[in-house]
């Protein structure tokens, strides 16, 4: 990650592919240790992800939240902020969208827009306090946003089960009205407009960082805060804004999941998408366009893992192991390793 923005994309790509290869090799060893054949696991994963058009749609369905969460993480990383709280923002955004969806009755398009708007606001509001303390008092945002995740998960569960439980249902809210559904793209899958929202967001974010001066300012604050400050940029304000927007996008991811896929909010409705998004962004080296591909990769792993439970003895969490190994390999930066100064100064030192 030290090489963020510092090297050409071709070298970055080579480095990441090398890291993935190492991670897959290590993952194979672990799969062998649990008495399963790596070949069978990887083939099953591929079949589960790309076997037929329904499976491909399933992969894209899993890709959507990972992509949006990944963009949220990218925005944070580019501005030098580690938003590890995307998971919590996703939960609150998901609940907020569901609430608008079932508690109000509005005309079709307006209903979706209102629900999305509240999801975005909920995500941004949830990160606002950690963001304020981060820029004002230097409170480590990694820890504060992680702790906020636990609170967000419990809080939305409380809302769902104690305040808005569907009569006769099991830890879920009433279903949202059909006017709040995100339109589906194909008849054979729940794949919906959310994917296009994610793609558009990735492209807009990439354009923002590439062609606008505000985007340049954010990148500058993230990579060289001192330099940015001398250049007359209000580093605190930019930092606060970065976290707020990142949280807002996290909330949007939750809204898309609720309105597009589940059509209600339920306990544990999107396990781990926030973390998957963060990992996808890290693997893409903070590039929004790169995140499209890494999110697709992780979406495929997730979709494939559903078949893993059926066809092999391995648990579907083996893909979590592979993802973690990939990030460890990437972090070691094996190809692009540079000698830092010997006291080991790091960019994201809090």
């Amino acid at each position: 990650m030290r090489t963020l923005l510092a090297t050409g994309w071709a070298r970055t790509l080579a480095g990441q592919l090398f890291a993935i290869a190492i991670a897959l090799a290590l993952g194979s060893v672990i799969i062998l240790l649990i008495d399963e054949s790596p070949v069978r696991v990887f083939v099953t994963l591929m079949r589960g992800a790309f076997g037929d058009s329904e499976k491909i749609a399933g992969t894209l369905l899993q890709t959507t939240p990972i992509l949006i969460c990944g963009i949220a993480a990218c925005i944070g990383l580019r501005g030098g902020m580690f938003n590890v709280g995307i998971e919590g923002q996703l939960f609150l955004g998901g609940f907020a969208a569901a609430w608008v969806g079932f508690a109000f009755s509005l005309p079709p398009v307006l209903h979706v827009l209102a629900a999305m708007a509240l999801a975005v606001v909920a995500g941004a509001a949830w990160v606002a306090i950690p963001a304020f303390f981060r820029v004002r008092f230097g409170t480590n945002e990694v820890v504060s946003t992680i702790l906020a995740n636990y609170i967000a998960t419990l809080l939305t569960s409380y809302f769902t089960i104690f305040l808005f439980k569907r009569p006769g249902g099991w830890s879920e809210t009433p279903p949202i009205l059909e006017s709040a559904y995100l339109p589906e793209l194909f008849s054979f899958s729940r794949l919906n407009l959310g994917l296009l929202i994610g793609l558009a967001l990735a492209i807009v974010t990439a354009a923002f960082f590439r062609w606008t001066s505000a985007g340049y300012a954010v990148t500058m604050v993230g990579s060289a805060p001192k330099f940015a400050e001398y250049g007359g940029i209000d580093v605190r304000r930019v930092g606060f804004g970065v976290l707020l927007v990142s949280g807002a996008v996290g909330g949007l991811a939750g809204g898309v999941e609720t309105l597009g896929v589940h059509h209600r909010f339920m306990e544990g409705f999107a396990p781990g998408f926030g973390f998957d998004g963060l990992i996808a962004a890290l693997l893409a080296n903070g590039s929004p366009v790169g995140t499209i591909f890494t999110a697709l990769f992780f979406g495929a792993l997730r979709a494939g893992s559903l078949l893993l439970e059926v066809d092999t003895t391995a648990s579907r969490e083996i893909i979590t192991v592979i993802q973690a190994l990939i990030i460890l390999a990437v972090s070691a930066d094996l190809i692009m390793r540079r000698r830092g100064d010997r006291t080991g100064e790091r960019r994201w030192k809090f």
């Binding site: 636990y150 973690a324 990030i327 006291t343």
Partner: protein, 330 residues
């Protein structure tokens, strides 16, 4: 009535001591890395992997000590990976720590299925819990309040005795001094010929040792079982404590007692019929509020201290320059 109230208080205190232990152990471990200048967000994963392997080890060896050793070894292995990546490869410590946490979560669930064929949790199956230490004579001398000092698992005593031990290490031993120098002034350590890498490796391994004990205490202590993600954020709470205590053992103890109390108190609230979801959020909220409140208080103080140090350095420097110069050459 008075006796009843008294008992209630002692029960709450005893519960606090129990709930404080794992977080105290893991935070004391993190104290080593914090003092050595490493921000270790990977405590959670080290604890979790140790909790799992302690259960596995306990079943295979048929003894709690075997479980403890195997659990601690697993945590040490994670600590070693962390150190290799962060110290030798100079990887970003947050990225490595988070990835190791995710790895621990995925690995324990995968292995749970591979070894025990179940999801969720493993209970019974010959897990041997840690023994309870009965201090002889405690009941005769202290009566009903004897349970405050007697009847805990050995790791409870280890945790609380480690606090003065760590103070001694930091203040009275060469290792402690080196760890502090490496953390506070790496350039000075370099100049003194201290190997920064070796000290950081050492600190990381000590951290793994304590995190391993914490994990073993979770799964072999008062409950003898392993559950998916059973560390449930305690490692992150420990990191929060480490941030506002700067790794000082006494402040770590104070912070851990606060969280232990919040934990014990929230369990009590639950039995009074408060919604469990809100009650479960209490310890995290306490951690978050403490983190914010203390950073708000700490910031101006740190600025003041820095200004003070600079002023002192500027005023003392010319007078001492003549005296210091030859000494530093020798």
């Amino acid at each position: 009535m008075e006796v009843l109230g008294n008992l209630f208080n002692i029960a709450l205190l005893v519960a606090t001591i129990r709930t404080t232990t794992p977080i105290l152990l893991v935070a004391l471990g993190g104290s080593f890395t914090t003092k050595a200048g490493i921000f270790n967000i990977g405590l959670e994963g080290q604890m979790l992997i140790a909790a799992f392997f302690a259960v596995v080890g306990s079943i295979y060896t048929g003894s709690s000590l075997g479980g403890l050793l195997i659990g601690v070894s697993a945590a040490l292995l994670f600590a070693l990976i962390y150190a290799v990546l962060v110290v030798s490869f100079r990887a970003n410590e947050v990225v490595v720590g988070l990835a190791l946490n995710i790895l621990a979560g995925g690995m324990t669930i995968s292995l749970l299925k591979a070894i025990f064929g179940t999801r969720g949790s493993v209970v019974g199956r010959g897990i041997v819990g840690l023994p309870k230490v009965q201090i002889p004579g405690a009941r005769d001398v202290m009566g009903s309040s004897a349970q405050l000092i007697s009847g805990f698992t050995p790791l409870v005593y280890v945790a609380f005795l480690a606090v003065p031990l760590l103070i001694l290490v930091y203040n009275r031993t060469q290792l402690g001094l080196y760890i502090r120098v490496v953390g506070e002034k790496p350039e000075a350590a370099e100049a003194l010929g201290i190997s920064i890498a070796r000290i950081r490796y050492g600190a990381s391994m000590l951290c793994g040792l304590f995190a391993g004990l914490a994990g073993a205490h979770m799964s072999l202590g008062y409950i003898t079982m392993f559950t998916e993600n059973m560390s449930s954020g305690r490692g992150f709470m420990a990191v929060a404590i480490l941030i506002f205590s700067a790794g000082d053992p006494l402040k770590v103890l104070a912070g851990c007692l606060l969280f232990g109390f919040a934990d014990a108190f929230s369990l009590r609230l639950q039995s009074f019929g408060f919604p469990s979801y809100l009650v479960l959020a209490v310890p995290y909220s306490v951690a978050l509020v403490a983190l914010f409140a203390l950073s708000w208080r700490g910031r101006p103080k740190r600025l003041r201290e820095t200004a003070e140090t600079i002023r002192r350095a500027l005023s003392v420097h010319p007078a001492d320059a003549g005296r210091d110069a030859p000494a530093s050459r020798s």
